[in-house]
Symmetry: C2
């Protein structure tokens, strides 16, 4: 039968459903992931799938959580269904900035943040799923999809609201244009060299000294140049662990430490002065992620020890102030905490403008898979730097992903498959669905 | 039958259930509550009831939202059920500090904030319900229950984590002890005089000029000394509305304005300079509630116009910084945004230490009912001041509450019924339950 005249080609794809799933891994049964604030996490993901009427085209996203409350996060994803139902894929992939602004700007949902916490993380996951869909549609891995967008399109993806006292659209455009001539060369370089990784695997608080030292030595043998230890439960323990780690890896390996928000400002200062002797690469999350002025005070007091935060920093407005206040020497970004790729582009542009290096947060469930794309896009199209920074790596739970990260010789290899590497394997979704999956029946 | 020896008295009450309900009022059908950021709110409440095995003893709380997403907020309340089931009422009412810390400190749920957004507001509502229960148990209105606690008990209720660089428990105790000798006199004074109110009823953006002027004159006739106008959509409109309002009320009535986060920092400064001529009592929420440094910059630029924020300020760490940075001349507190009575006590203590006046945010559903208790407790036991401040009042939706606020001659009368005035009428819960209540069937 002939196509009628009003349908000259195939019908353009539309989004027909926003599916959600509560997925949890019973990681609290061992002590992987234990730190000073999180003694027994069950690494979890509130998963979202944007389904289109083309069965071969979906977009995948998720929020990482650590167990209880993952059902609340899943409910927040479902609350966004009205924003995607019926949306044309073409319209979506050509206006990812407008899409993200519509979600973050829903005046009724905005009350639940604004732009923070459960609702904002849900928006981030749906926005990330839209970018996954767009990159799949374009047949490119997300890092390359972003890195090959015209500078004007990257600027259009960013919500500059509340940023204009620190970064204007024009400044962002100049920055992106300055990096553009070297894009193609950097893509080749990235494909050849990969992107530096650092590892937190030796440093969980639940591990004994010998296991920590063994894992630290193994990390060095595997090619990592930076390791990270969790600290903050007991000062004497931390002094001993830093000394033992330094003995294990020698003087040429960077050792970062992470207090996971354990301290008040005066406590942080006193505690860190005891650890100054071990040539600390950075102290991460010394206090509340909300305490911009507190980080600035700690940084002044413990200099030259570099201070860092960011994995729990709720949005671009907080990052802006961390930079304006000179509160940090470097920052983490997290792919599943803020309002998706768009807001992370805003943060990467701010970091580039303020000359602050980014060491992306990863681990958990799928955070490595996601954040590598953002770091690589940053290298190609924004900062132009990668050897002075590194992406966190924890070798855990990657087997559940269709396109898992590949880390070799201490470096993330650039992903080649189309999309954001966010899709989990159907068997994993089935077995770890909460509370009825097989893993939760024991 | 004789009581066995091991049960010498009546069995002590325990909490047996945490019930939740999604309640919404279709307020978007008119334009009450319209402002520059919230054009069409459906004022809503995610309600929680702590039920005990004594049918006469319950604790009531709620989170105020503006419509969509109220189901997410309700799911977050339900996620806290495990923290209350089986709890002895005696243990609860004697350790409201420990209770609030256990909820905020749940390491898995904490990931969803930390201490911000949907999960933190849910914790706040459950904590408020516990205070309601405690005050009912004691047979006192909450303001008086708090105001008659020993200073040590108030200090024990506060979580000083992340505050000690600005306020220590010892400093808080000194402050409370200094206010203690006048408590009884102030209770009598409050019962006799009431507490000043101000009204936002004339100022919604959806109202025309004549209606605004008429309502402003009526407010003055009713005894209010301060009115508030919404601004931020159109600068020329705002100049005209401020001029008309000033003409309507004369020179002796304070006019505050509220931009509901509409502006970037440079925009706020330019816009406010056009309104300086109208003797503005304060500009509320000129920009993002997260932007501490932005408020400080605006305040410096528009001085002497007082700058204010707080109704969306997520927690005590942000209030601490607003005070440390000199970012505000006064603040709003909100009874249903932060982690409950405990965190509001921390904020009131911080405000007292920094000498910042508090003008509590109210309106919405039941916010007046709640926040009056906090302001009155502050007057009696913390700041000792009330005539230099005022509680917001909007005459809307009070008919749904069992113990509604009474505002006469521009003053809140002190509530006398036991509890936190948080209980809604059963008929209202039935008719406005979403989506199956009668109000949602049309």
């Amino acid at each position: 039968m002939n196509q009628p005249a009003s349908f000259p080609g195939p019908r353009p794809a539309r989004i027909v459903a926003l599916d959600t799933l509560d997925v949890r891994f019973p990681t609290s049964r061992d002590l992987d992931g234990s730190d000073a604030m999180n003694p027994d996490p069950d690494y979890s993901a509130a998963c979202v799938t944007l389904r289109t009427d083309d069965p071969a085209l979906c977009g995948y996203g998720f929020v990482f959580t650590i167990g209880r409350g993952n059902e609340v996060q899943t409910a927040a994803l479902a609350a966004l269904a009205g924003h995607v139902a019926g949306l044309s894929v073409d319209a979506l992939v050509h206006d990812l900035g407008g899409f993200a602004r519509r979600l973050a700007g829903d005046s009724q949902l905005r009350w639940l943040g604004p732009e923070k916490g459960v609702m904002h993380m849900a928006i981030g996951a749906v926005v990330n799923a839209a970018w996954d869909l767009a990159a799949r549609h374009a047949g490119k891995p997300l890092w390359r999809f972003i890195a090959e967008l015209p500078p004007e399109d990257i600027v259009a993806a960013v919500d500059f609201r509340y940023l204009s006292d620190a970064l204007t659209p024009d400044e962002a455009l100049q920055l992106l244009r300055a990096a553009a001539p070297e894009r193609q060369r950097r893509i080749e370089q990235l494909l050849a060299e990969g992107y530096p990784a650092y590892t937190t695997s030796p440093g969980w608080l639940g591990y004994g000294d010998e296991k920590m030292q063994r894992l630290a030595r193994e990390a060095v043998a595997e090619g990592f140049h930076t390791i990270k230890l969790k600290v903050g439960l007991d000062a004497a323990d931390d002094v001993r662990r830093c000394r033992l780690a330094r003995e294990a890896v020698g003087p040429d390996i960077a050792i970062a430490i992470d207090a996971n928000q354990r301290w008040d400002v005066p406590d942080a200062i006193g505690w860190l002065q005891q650890l100054a002797a071990f040539d600390i690469a950075w102290i991460e999350e010394p206090t509340s992620p909300d305490d911009i002025l507190g980080h600035a005070a700690i940084r002044r007091a413990v200099a030259p020890m570099p201070v860092s935060t960011g994995e729990h920093t709720q949005n671009r407005v907080m990052f802006k102030q961390l930079f304006q206040a000179g509160a940090v020497d470097l920052v983490q970004i997290d792919a599943a905490r803020v309002g998706g790729v768009n807001e992370n582009l805003a943060i990467l542009l701010l970091a580039a403008k303020f000359g602050v290096r980014v060491f992306p947060h990863a681990g958990g469930v799928g955070l490595c898979e996601l954040v590598q794309h953002l770091a690589m896009a940053d290298f190609v199209a924004i900062s132009g730097s990668k050897e002075d920074r590194a992406i966190e790596f924890v070798d855990h739970l990657h087997e559940h992903f269709v396109d898992p990260v590949v880390v070799r010789d201490g470096r993330y290899r650039a992903p080649l498959a189309p999309g954001f590497s966010a899709q989990m394997k159907p068997a994993s979704l089935r077995d770890y669905a909460f509370p009825h999956g097989r893993a939760w029946q024991t």
